[in-house]
Amino acid sequence: MGKRVAVCAISQIKNDGDYWDRRFQDMLLPCLESILEQTGVTFDLDKGIRNIVTCSDDVYDARTISNNGVTDVVGAHFRGEEKMAQEGINGLGYAMASILSGHDDVILFMGHCKESQTESRLMNTNLAFDPFYCRPMGLDFLNANAFQAREYMEKSGVTEDHLAKIVVRSRKNAKKNPYARENKTVTEKDVKKSAMIADPIRELHQYPVTDWAYGMLLCCEERAKEFTDNPVWLTGFGNCMDSYFLGDKDLTSNFSLKKAAQRAYAMAGVKNPRKDLDIIELKDSFAYQLPMWAEGIGIADEGKGGAWIDKGGPDDMNVNLSGGMLNGNPIMIGGVARAVECILQLRGEAGKRQVKGVKRALAHGTYGAAGQHHAVLILEK
């Protein structure tokens, strides 16, 4: 292929625990306006935005065809609009394909998720299970992940102390990120004393309820200079689906993450992830997932997640400097939040958390119980 896709601009609103005064349309509109202002892109059918990829969810929005509700504020006026119904980072993979295929040259990529307006994340994720066997048992993404957490902690020597360290670090990093959800700073003691919600997962081990929306303008290599002087290139994408029943799989094998990463590395030409990646953003919805996903993408040794935390792996490899998912992003678009952080770092716009000389970054997203589906995106300067 030898072709790249450019990210010309990004916009976002601040992550917040409860935008009680805004509907999701009001969350998206400022993101759209910012993209138009930054790039000067228009909705001209020849030269401007002809196709829009959106990300939202019917269950979280409690609306059939949830993308119908955002058409007005993403500019879907007599033109293409397609909804990514998975974790939003897959929308970047799809938009990338649409541009590389030649069918589209400019794509507006917008998404939202308003967790606060839903009654319960557990009720929603319980609906992901089949109505015959697993749903009546009360499985949801929290308790299903608890099985994985326990098994992983035993396998990789991850302890309560490690988890507490991870949470404290996440909150500390997020303080340097003006778009991060505002949370209390916590001590390791606070984490270890927080309520046990699904053994071994404690309340502070879980990402808090969050509302967020973003916008992005993507285009083909030839046209990037029309919209920006500082493009970031999408050079690799891979995703993978694991099996469904928890009992059918080794919960700690990282089967689908390893495959997703291999696919993205092969496409982008990443040989050694420990050396070739300057910034890494992992979707750690739960504290145990930070070392586990690190093993999956190959930056920590298999079964050595605990030791990786001990020797300062996350800081050495610039993992989740944004605060990560653990500090709070919504479930449907936490992976896009990871990509947004990578883009800011690659553009040199990450403020107090900016790392010097960033050339290549990895963003990760996952959805489903115990990481059933994973996606990995490679971005470059």
Partner: protein
């Protein structure tokens, strides 16, 4: 720069459809999907090992499964493979086809399988669709997918008698087509002599939209396999090529006050058709295409939209119906499969249009095969608030 050259060509090499039915208690969702997947693999002479990527779609609130591709992996075969889930409402099926075309053309995946399904029996279809509308402003006005505005518009323009007859004529033709399609959900054996009786006696749903004129609620799944040119030629004797596709969505609200010829408003269908035909240099679509598989949710809309899609003028579209030109063997066959009025598993429906158009090009449609050669086919999808997607399929790489 408006429309760039496709990176590489894409062909359809496998098609699988379940029987469409009002109830499939004998299978659960992944089992039903698996039937279509296995049929598509058999049709292409492939195994799951040959598939690089799965694209899955339906509407979550119909069956109330959150991210159903997770559970459905049992039936889709996506285990260990790349997998996307893309949904756009009623158009979702054909959006899956467009997405598969993009994914293969991009060079990222060589062989992609699109899977559309719905098991409407397990939910409440009209309730589900009503939930599409804004909870504060429009939900209390919405009647699901049932809308009488199509009937109102055609009656307004052509008078009650002619309009009602055209709509019922279309409906009876679709019933006759469905009777030739073993997968079709409904075929009542309607005859043209029953026209006046049906106009008078079929119960009204909304305005002049009658029960017999509305599409069904079906269970069923459809799977279509797409491959890059090199693999399509190597693996298939009769690949069907995707020439181009266009998507035209629009804002959240319908034209709630209808439209009037004196005050023309932009219509998505004619706009999509204009864009697609202009960039593919097709001057007279009605002459160019050999078959049209149209997403026809009700016979009123179908009659009206024929004019939009073929860029016809005046009453040319009514004449197409009145002269039975749209029948199998006619001048411009429409929906030889029996169309959406015959079977409507919503998440699969628009993919079935693509699948049926491809079967016609291959000459493999069986009893509902058009007797004359089919080289150029058009397929459409409908959903949301008058959203439309059009796809052009070709027998030869002729562009």
């Amino acid at each position: 720069m408006a429309h760039r050259k496709k990176n590489r060509n894409v062909g359809i090499i496998g098609i699988g459809q379940t029987k469409y039915s009002s109830h499939r208690e004998d299978v659960n969702q992944p089992e039903m999907i698996h039937e279509a997947v296995q049929l598509a693999l058999d049709d292409a002479g492939l195994t799951m090992d040959d598939i690089d990527c799965i694209v899955h779609g339906n509407m979550e609130l119909f069956e109330m499964i959150y991210q159903p591709d997770l559970w459905h992996v049992i039936g889709t075969g996506a285990y260990g493979k790349s997998e996307f889930r893309i949904t756009t409402g009623g158009t979702v099926g054909i959006t899956l086809a467009c997405a598969s075309d993009n994914l293969v053309a991009s060079g990222m995946y060589d062989i992609v399988m699109a899977i559309g399904f719905e098991k409407l029996q397990e939910g409440h279809t009209t309730g589900g669709i009503t939930n599409m509308a804004d909870p504060l402003w429009f939900r209390h006005l919405q009647t699901g997918a049932l809308t009488g505005s199509g009937a109102y518009d055609v009656i307004n323009e052509f008078g009650e008698e002619r309009a009602k007859k055209a709509s019922m004529m279309y409906r009876i033709i679709m019933d006759k087509h469905a009777s030739l399609n073993p997968n079709a959900h409904r075929s009542f054996g309607l005859e043209f002599e029953q026209m006046d009786d049906l106009i008078k006696n079929s119960p009204k749903l909304v305005g002049d939209l009658k029960l017999i004129e509305m599409c069904s609620q079906s269970d069923g799944a459809c799977a279509v396999i797409f491959a890059c040119e090199k693999k399509a030629k190597a693996l298939s004797k009769k690949p069907v090529w995707i020439r181009d596709h266009v998507t035209v969505h629009r804002e959240e609200t319908f034209f709630i006050f209808g439209y009037d010829e004196k005050y023309p408003v932009t219509m998505t269908h004619s706009l999509a058709a204009k864009r697609l035909f202009e960039r593919n240099n097709i001057k007279k679509p009605i002459d160019y295409f050999d078959v049209f598989e149209m997403y026809d949710p009700a016979s009123w809309w179908a009659v009206d939209w024929l004019r939009d899609f073929f860029l016809l003028k005046g009453d040319e579209h009514l004449k197409l119906v009145e002269n039975k030109d749209i029948m199998i063997g006619g001048k411009m066959p429409v929906n030889p499969s029996g169309g959406v009025i015959g079977s409507n598993p919503i998440g699969a429906t628009a993919l079935v249009r693509v699948a049926e158009a491809a079967l016609q090009i291959r000459g493999d449609a069986g009893a509902h095969q058009i007797p004359t050669p089919v080289n150029h086919a058009l397929a459409s999808g409908f959903g949301g608030t008058m959203w439309t997607v059009l796809m052009m399929l070709e027998k030869e790489l002729n562009w």
